[in-house]
């Protein structure tokens, strides 16, 4: 027991970060699952984080309500910007969502209420370890149910062939908007949880680099199932720590590992088809 509490006090921050990253990776998995390449999720996380933090600091709302508001605010934003931008596809959508992310960051940077470039200080530390575990479990379960439902099948059909999906009676635009919006809500929730754990937030945390990081986790892990994004988030969070013994070279080695994975496992680390085939091959021997 004592061993565990030592372990927890040393690594709790790291484990918490893995959890937040996993939630973010799942949020972008949703859009990727129906073939949308969106780079807006870091901004959605920021909107959620600031909404939640401001409600706690200025109005003293209870934590569960604050979390709900942190998820709801980016949902409303996503509904507004989703209608025009989701007509785009591929790199064009990536560009539009990237632009949205930068606009959001600059707005937060220049508002008074958000503390501008100095960020928000003194957010009460109310998020506990089990909160993130519970949220991840509920979100993971919900997404697993979704994946195996008519909506999950529609997402995959849209990803594979949009025209064929339309002619199967699927309302493609509505499904895309749903994936985009739900992803925004999850990213906002991650932001709200994170803000009440780190004490301090600033616009820097929600910029372009973070958008790419989130995307990298999911793509590295693989989007064929929910395990991929969680695995990718875990590895990308832990790898820099595990490579600490390399001192100055660790980020370079980190990058090399990513390049190797993308080169040799283009469908990500966890490709359910490859793993099924591997097991089938083993059981036949």
């Amino acid at each position: 027991m004592e061993g565990f509490s030592d372990f927890w006090s040393t690594y709790s921050t790291l484990i918490f970060t893995v959890g937040i990253h996993a939630l973010l990776a799942l949020s972008i998995w949703l859009t990727l699952a129906c073939g949308l390449l969106s780079l807006a999720n870091a901004a959605f996380m920021g909107i959620g984080a600031y909404t939640a933090a401001l409600l706690t600091v200025n109005l003293g709302w209870p934590f569960p309500v604050v979390l709900a508001a942190g998820a709801l605010a980016p949902v409303l934003v996503a509904l507004t910007i989703g209608v025009p931008t989701l007509r785009l596809s591929g790199v064009y959508l990536a560009m539009a969502t990237l632009a949205f992310g930068e606009v959001s960051r600059v707005i937060i940077l220049n508002l008074d209420v958000t503390g501008g470039p100095e960020g928000l200080n003194g957010i009460p530390l109310v998020t506990e370890g089990w909160h993130i575990v519970l949220v991840l479990a509920v979100v993971g379960y919900g997404l697993a149910r979704l994946r195996r439902s008519r909506v999950g099948r529609a997402f995959e059909a849209i990803k594979e062939d949009e025209v064929a999906a339309r002619l199967m009676g699927i309302n493609v635009d509505r499904h895309k908007l749903f994936a985009f919006t739900l992803g925004a809500g999850l990213a906002g929730l991650a932001g709200a949880l994170n803000a009440h754990y780190t004490f301090f937030i600033s616009p820097r945390e929600y910029g372009f680099e973070n958008a790419v990081d989130i995307l990298t986790m999911t793509v590295l892990g693989g989007i064929s199932s929910l395990i991929g994004p969680v695995l990718g988030a875990t590895i990308l969070t832990l790898l820099p720590e595990l490579l600490r013994f390399l001192h100055d070279y660790r980020l370079a080695v980190n990058g090399v590992i990513l390049i190797l994975v993308v080169l040799f496992l283009p469908t990500g680390l966890w490709d359910s088809r490859r793993i099924r085939a591997w097991f089938a091959g083993r059981s036949q021997k």
Partner: protein, 256 residues
């Protein structure tokens, strides 16, 4: 009794007139063929009917309802399903999932029922799976239901596309060159299957190049050439129609 009527339909892409004053009636419960040389505008007619394109002129009426401006997914829900000339199945999904996608609008449950896996939701999913297996066994692919669709041969992919189209519970089935790339034996099997579909009460509207196939199968045929209907009638009439012979074989003085 007409199920689908195309009235004075025209379509142009910029300055290019693809269809001009096209009119014909597709009756229910029978097989209607639209034939014509390459580039005559046949697939464009399908794209207009299914809502992928909007007509520049004229009206398309399905069971008394004007389809102008309707979104493709709503037209499918009204009862028009189609297959594609260049097969468009979902290759990374299993056969079962492919067919279940076709039932999208028929399987209905809310988000709460889904999250808590209520009996209503389980029952709806179970029924959909059973119905999908039934359709797969009808095209003799049920033994491959859990394989991904990219494992199928060309002919099997066409059959899967059939099953998937029927899963939407259409009243009218549009087939875009259903026997392209098939050998004569496979074509005969497919002919029987299309007759089967008609005998089950579906209307069938198909586009085809293979004359033997069309003449042997269709109850009525319309011929499209350079975007205009040049003949319409029973197979015998079409076979002997001078304009049709000219469209396919050319005029005698052309050859000279």
């Amino acid at each position: 009794m007409s199920m689908l009527s195309i009235r004075n339909v025209g379509k142009h892409f910029g300055g290019l007139q693809v269809l001009q004053d096209v009119s014909f009636e597709v009756p229910g419960g029978s097989i209607f063929g639209l034939i014509g040389p390459n580039g005559a505008g046949k697939t464009t007619v399908f794209n207009l009917v299914t809502g992928l394109l909007q007509a520049s002129a004229g009206t398309i009426v399905f069971q008394g309802r004007d389809l102008a401006g309707e979104a493709p997914h709503l037209i499918t829900r009204l009862g028009i399903a189609r297959t594609f000339q260049n097969i468009r199945i979902f290759k990374e999904m299993t056969l079962l999932e492919n067919v279940m996608v076709g039932m999208h609008h028929l399987v209905d449950y809310g988000p709460v029922a889904l999250f808590f896996a209520t009996p209503t939701c389980r029952e709806a999913e179970r029924r959909a799976r059973e119905r999908a297996l039934e359709l797969l066994s009808w095209v003799k692919l049920d033994h491959k239901a859990l394989l991904t669709a990219d494992n199928l041969s060309y002919g099997e992919q066409r059959k899967l596309e059939f099953a998937r189209a029927l899963a939407t519970e259409p009243k009218l089935l549009l087939l875009d060159e259903p026997v392209a790339g098939m050998n004569p034996a496979e074509k005969d099997v497919l002919m029987d299957e299309i007759r089967n579909i008609r005998d089950r009460g579906y209307g069938v509207f198909l586009i085809e190049h293979d004359m033997r196939f069309v003449m042997g199968l269709c109850d009525r045929i319309a011929v499209l050439n350079f975007g205009r209907i040049i003949a319409e009638g029973a197979p015998e009439e079409i076979r002997n129609h001078p304009d049709v012979i000219e469209a396919y074989l050319g005029r005698e003085d052309d050859a000279a």
